[in-house]
Every structure is written in C-alpha cells, then in structure tokens.
Symmetry: C2
Subunit: 327 residues, 2 copies
Amino acid sequence: MIKIGILGYGNLGRGVECAVKQNPDMELAAVFTRRNPADVKILTEGASICSISEVPDWKDRIDVMILCGGSATDLPEQTPAYAELFHVVDSFDTHARIPEHFANVDKASKKGGKVGIISVGWDPGMFSLNRLYASAVLPKGQDYTFWGKGVSQGHSDAVRRVEGVKDAKQYTVPVDAALEAVRKGDNPTLSTRQKHTRECFVVLEEGADAAKVEKEIKTMPNYFADYDTTVHFISQEELDRDHGGIPHGGFVLYSGKTGWEEENSHLIEYRLKLDSNPEFTASVLAAYARAAYRLGAEGVSGCKTVFDIAPAYLSQKDGETLRASLL
Amino acid sequence: MIKIGILGYGNLGRGVECAVKQNPDMELAAVFTRRNPADVKILTEGASICSISEVPDWKDRIDVMILCGGSATDLPEQTPAYAELFHVVDSFDTHARIPEHFANVDKASKKGGKVGIISVGWDPGMFSLNRLYASAVLPKGQDYTFWGKGVSQGHSDAVRRVEGVKDAKQYTVPVDAALEAVRKGDNPTLSTRQKHTRECFVVLEEGADAAKVEKEIKTMPNYFADYDTTVHFISQEELDRDHGGIPHGGFVLYSGKTGWEEENSHLIEYRLKLDSNPEFTASVLAAYARAAYRLGAEGVSGCKTVFDIAPAYLSQKDGETLRASLL
C-alpha cells in the first residue's frame, strides 16, 4: 500500500481524498491543515487530521505527500520544504515561475533522496503531454489550446471584487468558429478575443448600479478588456442553484503536415469535459503519486514533470497486463 | 545526427523517409529492400539503396533500424533478427501475438545491448497511450475506441478477392449515434454493428453480376457479415480519382467518474484525422527512433513499448526548453 498524505484540505485536497478511495493500492494516512484540526472533518475513516506543524513527525509514515495548496504563495514554499522528507506531487501552475520552482524542488528532492513531481493536473499536465506528443510526432505543425466551457476561479474572484457585486461566477467559453477553423487545418492566427469569450453571472448588492458594474467588469484590464464579455444579473438563489458546480475542460488541437512536400494534413484533437475541475486534477495527482512512489523504489531522486515519467508508472497494472489489455 | 535505416520500402517505408526529412537531428543512411536495389528509386539524396542481405554490414553505420514490413510474416522474423545489431522500432499490430513478439525482441535486444521498441504507430501506439493515461487517471471508467473514417487495407483486399471484382476500396466508418451516446456519459454497451459501418467502392469486371457481388461482400464472414455494409459500384476512373488516398483516423473516448459517491462525470476524447495513414504511422516511428537512440545512449537495453517511454525522449527539445514552451 502506498501511504498518502494530503497537505491542504480545500476542494483539491478533498478531491485527492476521493481519488485515493478509487485506487486500491493507496491509503490515506493523514490530512494536514493550517486550521485547527479539531474543526476539520474528513471523509476517510481511520485517517488522521493533523496540524501542518506536525508534518515532519510523519516522515516515516507517509510515502507520498500530495500538496494541495495554491500556486501563488503556498506551493513555492511548501513543495521545496517537504520534498526532502517525502516524495511529493504538486499542481504548480504559475507558468513563468516553473523553472525556478523546478530548481528548488530538484535540490530538495535530491538532498532527501526523494522524487518530486511538479505541475501535475490537466493544464499543466494532460494538456502539456498532448502538446508534447503531437509536436514530437509531427514537427511541422502548430498547437492550439482552448479552455472551457468552465469556471475560472481567478476571474470569478476578480468580478466579486467589483464594487456593488455580492457574488459571481465567471465562465471561460471557447469560440466554436475558432475551433472549427483549426480543425479544418487552416492554421489560423487567432487573437485572444477570437479564441475565447467570457460569461459572467453576477448577483448585485442591494441598490448597486447594474450599468456601472457591467461597464467596470467589461473594461477590467488583463481579466476582461481583451475579450467579448457577457454579463448576466441573477439572484443569489439562481446563482446557488444553477452555478454551484466547478466544471471545466478544453481542447488541445494540433494541426500538422507530412509528406515529401508537406502535402498531407493531420489533425490531433484532445478534449476534456469535466464535471469537477478539482476532482479531475486530484485524480491526475493520485496517478502521479503512484509514479513517484515507484520511481523512488527504483532509487530515482530529483524533480520531474509529466514529460519525464513513462506512462506505465501511472497504472496499477503491470507491464504484461498493460500490453495485453491496452496496447 | 541519428543515423536511420529503413527496412522495407512500401508506403510505410516512404513515410519514414519523409519523416526523417522533417527531423533535423536525423539522417537517412540506407534503405534495404528485398527487390533488386537497382529497381528501387528513393527520394533522399546521398542515402544508399541496398539489398536486405547487406543489413549486417551496416551494423556500425546505422543507429536505429526502422522496420517497415507487415505484421503477418515480416516483423515476427525481422524485428528479433535485427534487434541484436541495431536499436529497432516496428509497428507490429497483431494484438494476440504481442506477448510472444515482445519476448523475442527482448531477448535479442538484450543480447546485443540494444533498445527495441515494438507496436509503435497510432493503434497500437497513440491510441494505446490515451487508453492508458485515461484509465490510470480515472480508474472508475470505461474506454471506447472507434476507427475511421478511413481505408482498411485488409478489408479492401478481401473485397478485391471476390469473383467479378476488378478493383475496390473499403472505408470503415464510426457510427455518430454511438459516439454521441459515449460522449453523453451513458457508458453504453455497443455491439460491433452499432459501432462501425463499412462502405465499399467497387469496380466490376466486365460482365460481372453486380447483385451477386454485393451479396457475397455483405455476407462475408469476419469481414462484413457483422456490419451494416454499403456497396457502391463505380468506374475505375472514379475509383482512381476519388479514392486514391489512404486516409484514416478514429477516436479514443474514456468516460469516468470521480467523487466520494462517484457523483461527477468526466469525458476524455482523443481524435485523429489523418490524410495519410502510413505517413502518420511513419512519423510516430521516427519519434520513437529518437527515443530508442537516447535510451541506448543511457545504457538501456531490451524491448519496450510506448508505455515504457517517458514522453520527453520523443522530442528534439531538451527538458528545460520543453518545460518553458509546452508545460
């Protein structure tokens, strides 16, 4: 049994707990929280709930620590800090800081003789894998990534910070015409506005000025100004009833050419349609926790990404069974 | 430079030649043929055309031999025979015989200190990878593979063997309703007939009985009897003009559940739409030739499949560049 620790018990941490339940070769040893452990209820019978300060005491009782904090401030500190004690897996997704994070985790993992796998999930993660496989197979080609339809947490937060907004959800929506142009093999150059639209469902504070709120959202730099944005005003009841989920997904399309004169076209399309963004991400983390454990058992150490892990390490099945059942 | 040899110069071998041209870290050293080398013309300037009997003389001048023969009789003999001399890559696709082929290639590769990668292409190959990744990430789920729309060589040959048929092409076509049922998350149980239809374009011999030919095709056991088959009679001119290509492709769909009570559904869809089946397969072979070469340089030996190869080995780019550009 692979003994799993979860650090951080928000949506992602709860998703990992559910994923561990689906993997019979794993067991949840403990959940670590910054809150008072007495205030935290988990779903798994027999697993411990501990303060984050107790993590080092679990060095010999946890094989893989899955880090479920945020990329902005938690993971840059936590992953390197714990990579020396355990095999670790995280979903670090601040693209510009990946080289720095990789170097920090690599140093700590090697010092502890452990494996650290960073930037695991679906983007970065499964989408990255598809970009890599497609571009390696068809060097003459171009990739396109579309996100959605799905809830963007960051954009929802941005809308909620607007004066007069009581609550809000924001959906990122890929533009069908852009998807179709790529599928046709046109290799179009697409602007930000041509690829995605943004749709906001907003609950106003009592007495707020709807027109003013809408204008402020639509012109918000970085978040909305470069997109065609739709704003719907609804009641809190409607928001809770119709927009309570955290769906997401998207597309990686790759259009490439082969032939002596590049006369033949090929389209590779990978699509995810997810009811729950955090639960899917958590499921990817669990599969890579297995890989970390197995690589560690082989004496490997240091920082890895999804690019560095042979697919067979993710599966419960052995090589012979995989070749017989899935090849 | 990775020095590539091609054994067998049919559609697949020519596809490998084109793929090598697209990969600046590879060069084609020689093509080996069972025909008289003087009768074979290739596209690459400077590459040799040799008789298959000369293969052993190239032991030190070729890094990776890409075997482009058929799975029925060529590859079971050739891959193990040459795996001791070179790193080898093949597209062996007789599913039931993979364990035996794996064992034979493994023995020869290990004896020669070489890497042999078998069953490379899109199915087996890229489709297999998608079945593996999806099932590892979502253990509670089911995969569905659909082929087409595309030309099946085996079925086209079977139609051509019918008395009264002068020439023919057969397309395998996935059934839209079945695809949609899987996409909806219904996890349907689908019969052979429900998943694919078969469409034949047939040129009759002069004086042949069309009704008799059509009946013989539609009732042919193994090939057509279990499918809804459509037969179109056309002229040789129309066949040559409209059905000269070798397109193919298909879908791997995976429908899975997450959540404590499996309350959330997820759909993973991978689609290929290929103008040229052999050129795409050849492009996958070339990428895995790079992996074989690199693994060999690390001292690895023995038989591998796509499941055993970390994705980074396929790319021309180094780890740092991959993390910066594709992660």
